[in-house]
Amino acid sequence: MRRRGGDDGGLELGTSAVAVLVVALVAAIGLELLHGSRLSIAKFGWSFWTGRDWDPVSGEFGALPFIWGTFYSSLLALLVAAPVGVGIAVFTTDVVPPRFRRPLAFLAELLAAVPSIVYGLWGIFVLVPVVRGLETVVSRTPLRKLPLFSGPPYGLGMLSAGLILALMVIPYVSSVSREVLQAVPVAQREAAYALGATRWEAIRAALHYGRTGILGAVFLGFGRAFGETMAVTMVIGNNPQLSASLFAPQYSMAAVIANEFSEATGDLYLHALTEIGLVLFVITLLVNAASRLLIWSVQRGPGRVSDGVPAPETIPPARAGEAA
């Protein structure tokens, strides 16, 4: 039987139902988290976020050490990953001969293909011993008096976590920065050279031109570092404490969920953990939204050719919780 052409409404009906489902899923996740943390929200309110004690024995739960650990490790990661990532982007767009560009960029992006669990494995057996050696050396010098380097050299701790996160974030920063740099109009760079600029000055001008986009890339990296779970859990040392020291074993929000969620014995304990999950959800949402806004604003900028073939790159958009 052949129907008359035109819109029979079937397509819309069918696909919109699924579309609604996807939207509902997000709401469901939010609600489930909210529901799962109600006891903790009711009991602690905002003090949950400023409490320093995580004491399952007495039923006191404060999330500050985890928030601290998450922010500290993410910022540390960005401190390394931002310059390195942008450096890679610059090197592979402006410095090396064209035929090396793609392979080099590909290699850097290979870092994104390594699953988090493998980073963790490598972290335990390769990175942590190296970091421990480094820490042992530092802790023999007067530097140990600085709060940044205080405490025994465990190897496991903030420094290892930050470094491993940096590695995981680098490909995100570099690939987005590369895109941004490539989007800078050729004329812009040529103009710089024409004015007698050195290579670096031309690059700097390009970087300046694409600064919002690069900032967005760094944001994306932050979003990814923030929710990262396995690799961090395996090297951060899992001790909730507020310490400025790079050497100190600390804890992150995602890691405490991974370690304690299926084993929290009291209801309040479980709800406290779920509340950490809820906040992770809310924060990554905000970070992702903000970075998207930034990238979007630069894509709207002059000279951007954004409507080419959106080839699915090896790197999908940043997932904050790339926990793997």
Partner: protein, 338 residues
């Protein structure tokens, strides 16, 4: 018309592993890592005897065992810290069945030290409170005259998950150190004053092995299998004892004579010259009323086997078998499980 290809569904079935023909009964259990070596041994042996029965045991920590049996997401739990009254209230009808006894030992990794170290409860407590921070601290040195202890900082390793081993450790430290009792207390998860957290007995043993200067606490078998040094601990009678089957059995003797009906008993710091002070029973957590009677039957059959034939695997894995009185009591209690 083309015949539907059989290859697709066949491949799918294979991938999904729907070997329906084998009619497996699967029980799921989770909990303590302390007895995991003997549990996985038992379940593997039991599967050989009864190929139709698979008992999947995941060592996620005693806290996890308690939590998951309370949620009824597993068919049995396992813990080496007995459930608290509050926890039992949330899992009405839960029964504790002791399976074996084990010892928690202080393991350490001090490069250059080959002598076996001696510890006392208070010294261990002070190390874990962060009050003793280097290996050559006077308190440790006093217990170990003649051992050249380095000035290496002590890297304290503890559990990151809810753990019965932690419970036993903390239970012991609370009995010998008032400060530990007031500052930290006893539970499967604690607020640790110092140290790094490892997941499971596995994780702690792994980190101690990796970390020069580390101290940790694990079940005896983890130290033996991985050849990690562990020290002797002074018992209640003032004798320094290295963990052993005999020491654990001696510690259990008193408890075996006066076993409470629900089997929840602590035998840390037990009196007697031969008693190893950080010993404990470890328990299976089973509901009295089984939701699926068929599974309940499989489970009780297994427990009966474990109480008799299973005990012979203890010695190889350095666990102490259950005293005969306890086995008898358990068999009586097992009749209640339906």
């Amino acid at each position: 018309m083309k015949q539907p290809s059989i290859l697709g569904p066949a491949a799918l079935a294979l991938l999904l592993g729907t070997f329906a023909a084998s009619a497996q009964t699967q029980l799921n259990g989770a909990g303590a890592t302390f007895p995991a070596p003997i549990y996985t041994k038992w379940f593997s042996e039991y599967h050989k005897l009864h190929p139709g029965i698979q008992i999947n045991y995941q060592a996620i920590g005693s806290g996890g065992g308690i939590r998951q049996i309370t949620e009824r997401t597993v068919d049995f739990g396992a813990s080496d810290g007995p459930m608290t009254a509050e926890e039992i209230a949330k899992a009405p009808g839960i029964l504790h069945f002791p399976t074996v006894l084990g010892a928690v030992v202080p393991v350490y990794n001090i490069p250059g030290v080959t002598a076996e170290l001696k510890f006392t409860g208070p010294v261990l407590a002070d190390i874990y409170l962060g009050k003793i921070a280097t290996w050559n601290d006077a308190a440790i040195q006093a217990l170990n005259p003649g051992v050249r202890l380095p000035d290496t900082p002590i890297a304290v390793v503890h559990r990151a998950d809810g753990s019965g081993t932690t419970y036993i450790w903390a239970d012991y430290l609370s009995k010998v150190s008032p400060e530990w009792k007031s500052k930290v207390g006893v539970a499967t998860s604690l607020r640790w004053p110092v140290g790094v957290g490892g997941k499971g007995n596995d994780g702690v043993a792994g980190q101690v092995r990796q970390q020069p200067g580390a101290i940790g606490y694990v079940e005896l078998i983890y130290a033996l299998q991985n050849k990690i040094d562990f020290g002797s601990v002074r018992n209640e009678a003032g004798v320094y004892l290295k963990a052993s089957l005999a020491g654990v059995t001696a510690a259990a003797a008193g408890a075996a004579r006066a076993m409470p009906k629900d089997f929840r008993v602590s035998i840390t710091n037990a009196p007697g010259k031969e008693s190893y002070p950080i010993s404990s029973f470890t328990w299976l957590l089973v509901y009295e009323k089984q939701q699926d009677p068929a599974k309940g039957k499989v489970l009780t059959d297994f427990v009966r086997w474990m109480l008799k034939d299973g005990q012979k695997y203890c010695a190889d894995l350095a666990y102490a078998p259950l005293p005969a009185q306890v086995v008898a009591l358990e068999e009586a209690a097992l009749a209640k499980v339906k």
